[in-house]
């Protein structure tokens, strides 16, 4: 838990970068500090690991004032990700990942194991360990930047506009990755950005800052539902405020009974299921209905002679958790061309399926659903007009 108590930062020339800020970040929360440049968001974040010392007030981590602690040791306990990645060009990817563990003098095997495990978590193979950062793409570099901040099991991760320099598609993928990692590992993240979409997507709580003050500190839903003042409203923008009325989650539109097979089913049986239910893809689950993967007609057809059961040929499937906003799922379907996206609950159990057809329904609903005129126009009139 991180507590800010009346914290201010006043520079020598009298500028107040942070002005009497108080708020609490609970353990395991993803908190986004957002504001225009000069709002004090970065200063606020950098005070947590004492890259900047506060002028007055106190910051407590788990009840202890951070000023009573050695700054160097404090920083080693807190992960730190910056926009320019800050990867050392003279060190290999491996040396970069284990930088903090090395400072803490971990033994070699443990460092190697940690580096390999984390690299796998961000879908990168061990062959990257011996490469140098400049051989990687921007997205890969920032993946390394992120896992470097996790390598010493830091409970708190500070991120300063980490994805600002990436292209939209890479940024999207990394945002998801970070959110996933954070939820899985239960780390507390303090994330600075000026991108409202990013904040709404990632945050458990958003702190909107302006001129060194926290204007509103609440969950994204609450902020959208009740902006504290005009500044927050203008910061959110008209579009997002209107969207709130149509803020539906996937649960409301998903098909509740997607066609599934269990992983031990044979290919012949699955083809029969496909034919009976008239679908071309089947979701594979285990006995407890936990989603394992997906098989499609083409895949079965190709491997008919080689494989026995569906578990051998099923491929990974992109899924979302129940409660995800529909807008973000729609975005993904359109951008990445998924035909459908399964929805799972916390335990990974398959709950339903969002299909392109469900999106089309929504579009019709939003455009014509409330429009009574359309519904009230009798068919004859339309025909009459056409014939004229």
């Amino acid at each position: 838990m991180i507590e800010f108590k009346n914290v201010s930062k006043i520079y020598g020339d009298g500028t107040k970068a942070v002005d009497d800020v108080s708020f609490t970040i609970n353990e395991g929360e993803f908190v986004v500090l957002i504001g225009t440049s000069g709002s004090g968001k970065t200063t606020t974040m950098r005070m947590i690991n004492r890259m900047i010392d506060s002028t007055s007030g106190e910051i407590l981590i788990d009840g202890k004032n951070i000023k009573d602690e050695n700054a160097v040791e404090l920083r080693r306990r807190i992960g730190y990700v910056i926009q320019q990645t800050g990867l050392m060009p003279h060190m290999t990817v491996y040396e970069n990942i284990v930088m903090v563990p090395k400072l803490l003098k971990w033994d070699k095997d443990k460092m190697r194991e940690t580096a390999e495990r984390l690299l796998k978590r961000v879908d990168m193979g061990n062959e990257f360990l011996d490469r140098y950062p400049q051989e990687l793409s921007g997205g890969q570099q920032q993946r390394i930047g992120v896992i470097r901040a996790l390598a010493a099991n830091q409970d708190i991760i500070l991120m300063d506009e980490p994805f600002g320099a990436l292209d939209p598609i890479t940024r999207d993928a990394l945002q998801e990755l970070v959110k996933h990692l954070q939820e899985e590992m239960g780390r507390t993240v303090v994330f600075v950005t000026h991108d409202m979409d990013e904040a709404l997507k990632l945050a458990d709580k958003i702190a909107i800052m302006s001129e060194g003050k926290v204007i509103q500190y609440d969950t994204p839903d609450n902020i959208l539902a009740a902006p504290a003042n005009e500044f927050v409203e203008s910061f959110l923008g008209e579009d997002r405020l209107q969207q709130r009325s149509t803020m539906q989650t996937v649960d409301q539109v998903m098909v509740k009974t997607p066609i599934t097979v269990t992983s031990d089913m044979t290919l012949a049986e699955s083809i029969r299921v496909m034919r009976d239910r008239r679908v071309d893809t089947l979701f594979v689950t285990d006995m407890h209905h936990v989603l394992q993967g997906v098989v499609d007609f083409e895949g079965i057809n190709k491997n008919r002679k080689k494989a026995e059961t569906v578990s051998e040929i099923m491929s990974h499937v992109y899924y979302v958790k129940s409660g995800t906003l529909l807008s973000s799922v729609a975005d993904k379907m359109l951008k990445r061309g998924y035909k459908n996206i399964p929805v799972v609950n916390e335990a990974g159990k398959l709950e339903g399926l969002v299909t392109r057809a469900s999106l089309v329904d929504i579009v019709y609903d939003t455009i014509w659903g409330d429009d009574e005129e359309v519904e009230s126009i009798p068919l004859e009139t339309t025909q009459y007009q056409e014939s004229e």
Partner: protein, 229 residues
């Protein structure tokens, strides 16, 4: 008339043959002066490096001092080497030590300047990351700043060494020895062209070789050239 055996023969030779003859006859002496010359230059540069590299790091962090320090080193650099040698000779007497001190003084500027530039040019984001991850000031210096700046520092050493080899050649005037002695001997002898060459060519070769070796090292140490082994 002196009647030295082989003198007739010697006067018949052209300059190149004389040079070969001189090298054959005085190979050991030549080698001794060569190493002496080299060591004087190296010692001067090395001592300068020991002093100048820390100064470079220091002024990179205290930018206000930088102008003063670089300015002072610049003044030293503008003094002609012969004048400098003579002035120092008044204080330190004749001999090898005075030449080493002269080389030391001339080496300060290129090394300080390059160290300053190298450290100053280390990306701020790297230093921010290094500090933010919990490196101590000293760890930031030797784990990040030094490796990032080392190739620029090497370029400074390279400049310094090439200048040093030239300055050492003049050291003969205050009795320090080195290849300058051989050149001086040739200048004083009538028809000493071959002897001058016997001193001058190794001096030039030494400077070129030092330049090449350090240039290679500089490139090798450049962190931006790092790719997979």
């Amino acid at each position: 008339m002196l009647n030295i055996e082989g003198l007739d023969e010697l006067t018949q030779m052209n300059t190149f043959q004389q040079l070969i003859y001189y090298v054959q006859e005085n190979g050991a002496y030549l080698w001794e002066q060569f190493t002496r010359h080299f060591l004087i230059s190296i010692y001067g540069v090395l001592f300068a490096a020991i002093v100048a590299i820390p100064i470079g790091f220091y002024i990179a962090r205290h930018s206000k001092l930088a102008d003063w320090v670089v300015g002072a080193a610049n003044v030293i650099q503008t003094i002609p080497s012969l004048a400098m040698l003579s002035i120092l000779m008044l204080g330190f007497g004749i001999g090898v030590n005075t030449v080493i001190i002269t080389v030391f003084l001339y080496s300060l500027l290129p090394i300080v300047k390059n160290t300053y530039a190298g450290v100053k040019n280390v990306d701020n984001a790297l230093m921010d990351a290094a500090k933010g991850m919990g490196m101590t000031r000293w760890q930031q210096t030797y784990k990040v700043e030094l490796p990032m700046a080392i190739s620029v520092i090497m370029a400074g050493l390279r400049n310094a060494l090439v200048v040093a080899i030239g300055v050492t050649a003049i050291g003969t005037f205050i009795g320090a020895g080195g290849l300058g002695d051989i050149i001086q001997r040739g200048v004083n002898a009538s028809q000493g062209g071959a002897i001058i060459l016997a001193g001058a060519i190794p001096t030039a070769l030494m400077a070129v070789a030092a330049d090449l070796v350090l240039a290679w090292l500089e490139k090798k140490l450049d962190p931006s050239s790092r790719v997979r082994k």
